[in-house]
C-alpha cells in the first residue's frame, strides 16, 4: 500500500511539473507582448518598459520559468497588476469562499445522490425508480443559474429564510457565512447530484447482476443484505471517478453561480482578471486550478486503492 502511495505521489509531482511547463508556455506563445496586452495600446513607452522590467520580461524564458515555479513552491504567486496586492493573498481570500462552497456542494451531491441512486437500483423499474429517473433528467437539463434564481425567489424573497446573495465573511462566526453559501451550494449540487445518482444507479444495477451477489444470496443473505454488504462497495468504484471530476469542476466552474449570488470567489477572480488583462493573476490561478485537479485525482487514486484490494499491489 505504501509503495502504491509513493508511486502515485511521484506521478503527481511529475504531472505538476509538466502542467506548469504547459501553462507557462501557453502564456509565452500568446501573441503580443504581455506588458502591452496588460496596459492596452495607449500605453506610454516608459510605463511599458517599467512594467516589462517589473514582470521580468527582459530576462530569458527558462530563467523566468524557474523563478515562477520557485515562487509557486514558496507560495509566492507574484503581485497582481490591477489590485497591487500579492496574488497569494487575493487567492487565499477567494478560496475562503470557493473552497467551502465546493465542499458544501460536493457533500450535498454525495449525500443525496448515493442513497437516491441506490434506492432507484434496488427498486428498479418501480414507480420510485421511474420518478427518480425523471427528476434527475430534469435536474441535468435545467440551467443552474435559472434554478438558482428560483431558489432566491422562494427562500430569500418569499420565505425570507436565507440571504439572496453576498458573503458576510467568516469574521462574524461560521453560521452567517454558511447561510450565505447554502443556496449557491444547492444550485451547484442539483445537476451534479442528478448525474451522480444516475451513475450510482447504473453501476449498482451492474454489480447486482454479478455472480458474487448470487453467491451471497445462496449463503442466505436477503436481497437488501446482499446489496448493502456486497454490491454497494463494488458499485462505488465508478462513482468515485465521477466524484473526483465533479470536485475539480466545482472549484473552477462556479463563475456563473458566483455571479448570480454575488459571491467573491475564485471564479469571479479569474473572470475579472481576464477582463482586466491581469495576466499574473490569470497565470497563477490557472496553475492553482490545474494543481487542484491533479491533487484531487491523486486522492481519488488513493481512495480506489482503499476500496479495491486488487489495486494495492499493482500500480
Amino acid at each position: 500500500m505504501l509503495s502504491f502511495v509513493l508511486r502515485r505521489f511521484a506521478s503527481l509531482v511529475a504531472t505538476l511539473v509538466v502542467a506548469s511547463a504547459v501553462v507557462f508556455t501557453a502564456m509565452e506563445v500568446l501573441p503580443g507582448d504581455p506588458a502591452q496586452v496588460m496596459l492596452g495600446t495607449q500605453a506610454q513607452p516608459d510605463t511599458l518598459a517599467a512594467l516589462r522590467t517589473k514582470l521580468g520580461l527582459d530576462k530569458p524564458a527558462p530563467e523566468r520559468y524557474v523563478a515562477w515555479v520557485g515562487g509557486l513552491v514558496r507560495g509566492d504567486l507574484g503581485t497582481s497588476y490591477t489590485y497591487s496586492t500579492p496574488v497569494s493573498e487575493l487567492v487565499g481570500e477567494r478560496l475562503q469562499v470557493s473552497l467551502p462552497l465546493a465542499l458544501l456542494a460536493l457533500s450535498l451531491t454525495i449525500l443525496v445522490a448515493i442513497p437516491v441512486g441506490a434506492l432507484a437500483a434496488a427498486r428498479r423499474n418501480s414507480m420510485t425508480d421511474l420518478s427518480i429517473m425523471g427528476v434527475t433528467q430534469v435536474g441535468i437539463a435545467v440551467p443552474n443559474f435559472w434554478f438558482a434564481m428560483l431558489l432566491v425567489i422562494l427562500f430569500a424573497i418569499t420565505l425570507r429564510w436565507l440571504p439572496a446573495g453576498g458573503f458576510p465573511g467568516w469574521g462574524n462566526g461560521p453560521w452567517p457565512a454558511l447561510r450565505g453559501l447554502i443556496l449557491p451550494a444547492v444550485a451547484l449540487a442539483l445537476p451534479q447530484a442528478s448525474i451522480l445518482a444516475r451513475v450510482m444507479r447504473s453501476s449498482l444495477l451492474d454489480t447486482l447482476g454479478e455472480d458474487y451477489v448470487r453467491t451471497a444470496r445462496a449463503k442466505g443473505l436477503s436481497e437488501g443484505q446482499a446489496l448493502r454488504r456486497h454490491a454497494l462497495r463494488n458499485a462505488l468504484i465508478p462513482v468515485l471517478t465521477i466524484v473526483g471530476l465533479q470536485f475539480s469542476f466545482l472549484i473552477a466552474g462556479t463563475i456563473v453561480i458566483e455571479n448570480v449570488f454575488y459571491l467573491p470567489g475564485i471564479g469571479r477572480l479569474v473572470f475579472q482578471a481576464i477582463n482586466q488583462r491581469d495576466l499574473i493573476v490569470v497565470k497563477s490561478v490557472v496553475m492553482l486550478l490545474v494543481a487542484s485537479v491533479i491533487v484531487v485525482n491523486f486522492l481519488v487514486d488513493i481512495a480506489y486503492a482503499i476500496v479495491d484490494p486488487r489495486l494495492r499491489r499493482r500500480g
Partner: protein, 533 residues
C-alpha cells in the same frame, strides 16, 4: 422419505414454458447427477430449489425439502434455509467471489449470518472450514483476497461457503466446467468427500456425461425442460440408458470422427528453441526488470497434412506458444519458420502472405466476431489479405462457397452473429479461417464451449475438411478425449517446456512423464471409465 423431492415442477419465464412436469428425487447421502445440454433447464431446476429465480419466473408444482414445500415459503424463511439447509456451488469460480472482501470474511459471513456468532468466533470457524476444503491457513491465509487465488482455490472457497454449516443438501451447478482436468478431478473428489462426511445429498449438474457418471449414484437426463430418463450412476450408467436422446448423448460424447491416415508431407512449421518472456511489474521504480518465461526453449516440427495436438494445464504456456506461431507476438530467442520463411522478418506484404497461409479458430467464436458485422463480412474479411483486390461478386461467391463447405447456407451471409447458435458460430469461425485456403490452421480449444452433440458434429466437420483440403492442424486443447480423436501426434507442455511428445495413442496410453500421467489420470474420458467397469 427423500431429502429433496421435486414433484411436477412447471416453470415459465414471461409466459414461455421452460420446465415441464419435472420430477426428481434425492435421498440423504445420495448423489444425483443431472445431465443435459445447454438450455435443457437443469440450472433453472437447481435455482428453483434455492428460490433464486429471475423475477419474471412463474412456477407450479411442489419442491419438497425435508418435507417442506419451498415454493410456498416466505422470502424470509427461504433466507434462513439458504446456506443452512441447502448450499450451492456455481460454475464460474473467477467471478463467484466478492473481489473486495477477504476469503476468510466471505466464509465467516455464513456463520455470523446464520448462527449470530461474533466476528472473532465466525472467523475461527471460517478458518477451520477453509482447512477442511484443502486451504490450510498456514499456506493460504484467510486474509487473502480472491484475486490472489487460482481458479481451483477460488472454487474451494465457494465450496467452503456452501458446506460451512453442513447443510443437508448441496447443489453443484457445473462446478468444474471452468477448470482444467487435474483441478476438475480434485474438486469432484472434494465434493464427494464432503457430502459423504456430512451425510448430505448432492445434486450435481453437468453437461458432461462422464463427470456425472463417475460421481453419481443416480442419473437424470434432461432435455428441453423435461426429464427424459433416470437411471443408475457409475460405469453401468451408459449401458442402462435407453431413451433415444440419452443414447445419442452417450454416443456423441464418445464420438471419434473418421480420419483416414494421410502420409505426412514436407516440414511446414518449424519451431526452433523458441523463447517467449513477459516482463513482470517492477516491485519499485528502480528495480531491475524481471521476466516470466512463458515459453522456454521449445522446438518441434509440424509436417504438411498432419494434425498435431498441444496439451497441458492452464498456464503451461500453450496459448502463448500459439500466439507466437501466429506471429502475433515476437520471440525473445530461437526462431519459428513457416515453410522455411522466418516469422521474425515479416513486414507488410510478406506478413499479409503469412496471415493468408496461417489462420486460427478460437474457443469462443462469439467474442471474436464484431456483433455489428454480418456473417458475410466476417467470413470474407481475410480476403483482404489476397495480393489483388477481388470483385464484389467473386467475393460473394467465395463467401457462399465457404459457408457451404462448413454446412451453412449461402443465405446465412446476411445474418448477424447473434442470430446463430453456438455450433453454427463455430462453423462460421471455421469458414472464416478457411476462405483464404490456408496451409496451417491453429485451433485453440475449438469445441470446449460446445455441447457434446454439437461438438461431435464440429469434430466431424474439421476431420472432413482436413482430408478434403489437405489442411495441417495445430490443435490446442485440455480435453484429452478430443485430442485423442483429432490428432496424429501430441505434445505435452508444462512450465513452458515440452515434456513429452510422440504418437497420440502411444503417449496417452503409455504416458512416461509424470505431467502426462497426471493429465491422463485426471481426464475422465468415457472409454477409460467404461473399460474400468
Amino acid at each position: 422419505m427423500s431429502l429433496l423431492s421435486i414433484e411436477d415442477l412447471d416453470l415459465s419465464i414471461a409466459g414461455t414454458p421452460i420446465l415441464r412436469k419435472v420430477s426428481l428425487q434425492l435421498a440423504a447421502g445420495e448423489v444425483l447427477g443431472v445431465v443435459g445440454e445447454s438450455g435443457s433447464g437443469k440450472s433453472l431446476t437447481a435455482l428453483t430449489v434455492m428460490r433464486l429465480l429471475p423475477r419474471q419466473v412463474r412456477t407450479a408444482g411442489r419442491v419438497l425439502l425435508d418435507g417442506t414445500d419451498v415454493l410456498a415459503l416466505s422470502e424470509a424463511a427461504m433466507c434462513e434455509r439458504r446456506g443452512r439447509a441447502v448450499g450451492m456451488v456455481f460454475q464460474e469460480p473467477m467471478t463467484a467471489l466478492n473481489p473486495l472482501k477477504t476469503i476468510g470474511a466471505q466464509v465467516a459471513e455464513v456463520f455470523s449470518l446464520h448462527l449470530g456468532l461474533s466476528r472473532a468466533d465466525a472467523e475461527r470457524r471460517a478458518s477451520s472450514v477453509l482447512e477442511r476444503v484443502g486451504l490450510p491457513p498456514a499456506r493460504i491465509p484467510p486474509t487473502r483476497y480472491p484475486h490472489e487465488l487460482s481458479g481451483g482455490q477460488r472454487q474451494r472457497v465457494v465450496i467452503a461457503m456452501a458446506v460451512a454449516l453442513s447443510p443437508r443438501l448441496v447443489i453443484a451447478d457445473e462446478p468444474t466446467t471452468a477448470l482444467d482436468v487435474t483441478m476438475q478431478a480434485q474438486i469432484l473428489k472434494l465434493l464427494r468427500r464432503l457430502v459423504a462426511e456430512d451425510g448430505a445429498g448432492l445434486m450435481l449438474i453437468s453437461h458432461d456425461l462422464a463427470v456425472v457418471a463417475a460421481m453419481a449414484d443416480r442419473i437424470a437426463v434432461m432435455r428441453r425442460g423435461e426429464v427424459v430418463e433416470t437411471g443408475p450412476g457409475g460405469a453401468a450408467a451408459f449401458e442402462a440408458l435407453v431413451h433415444p436422446y440419452a443414447v445419442a448423448l452417450r454416443e456423441a460424447s464418445a464420438h471419434e470422427p473418421a480420419r483416414p491416415a494421410a502420409p505426412p508431407g514436407e516440414p511446414l512449421l518449424t519451431v526452433d528453441k523458441a523463447v517467449r518472456d513477459y516482463p513482470l511489474p517492477r516491485p519499485h521504480p528502480f528495480a531491475a526488470r524481471r521476466h516470466n518465461r512463458a515459453v522456454d526453449g521449445v522446438s518441434f516440427t509440424v509436417h504438411r497434412g498432419e494434425s498435431v495436438g498441444l496439451v497441458g494445464e492452464s498456464g503451461c504456456g500453450k496459448s502463448t506458444l500459439a500466439r507466437a506461431v501466429l506471429a502475433l507476438e515476437p520471440l525473445q530467442g530461437g526462431r519459428i519458420a513457416l515453410a522455411g520463411h522466418d516469422l521474425a522478418g515479416l513486414r507488410g506484404p510478406t506478413m499479409a502472405a503469412f496471415r493468408r497461409r496461417v489462420q486460427m479458430v478460437f474457443q469462443d467464436p462469439y467474442g471474436s466476431f464484431d456483433p455489428r458485422h454480418r456473417a458475410g463480412r466476417i467470413v470474407g474479411e481475410p480476403l483482404r489479405l489476397l495480393d489483388e483486390p477481388i470483385a464484389p461478386d467473386a467475393r460473394g461467391r467465395m463467401v457462399a462457397q465457404a459457408l457451404v463447405e462448413v454446412g451453412l447456407a449461402p443465405g446465412d451471409a446476411d445474418k448477424y452473429p447473434h442470430e446463430f447458435s453456438g455450433g453454427q458460430r463455430q462453423r462460421l469461425a471455421i469458414a472464416r479461417a478457411l476462405i483464404t485456403r490456408p496451409d496451417l490452421v491453429v485451433l485453440d480449444e475449438p469445441v470446449s464451449a460446445l455441447d457434446v452433440s454439437i461438438r461431435a458434429q464440429i469434430l466431424d466437420l474439421l476431420a472432413d475438411l482436413q482430408t478434403r483440403l489437405g489442411l495441417t492442424y495445430l490443435f490446442i486443447s485440455h480435453d484429452l478425449g478430443v485430442v485423442r480423436a483429432m490428432t496424429d501426434r501430441v505434445m505435452v507442455m508444462s512450465g513452458g517446456r515440452i515434456v513429452e511428445e510422440g504418437d497420440t495413442r502411444t503417449v496417452l496410453d503409455h504416458p512416461r512423464d509424470p505431467v502426462t500421467r497426471g493429465l491422463v489420470d485426471a481426464s475422465q474420458h468415457l472409454d477409460r471409465l467404461l473399460s474400468q467397469a
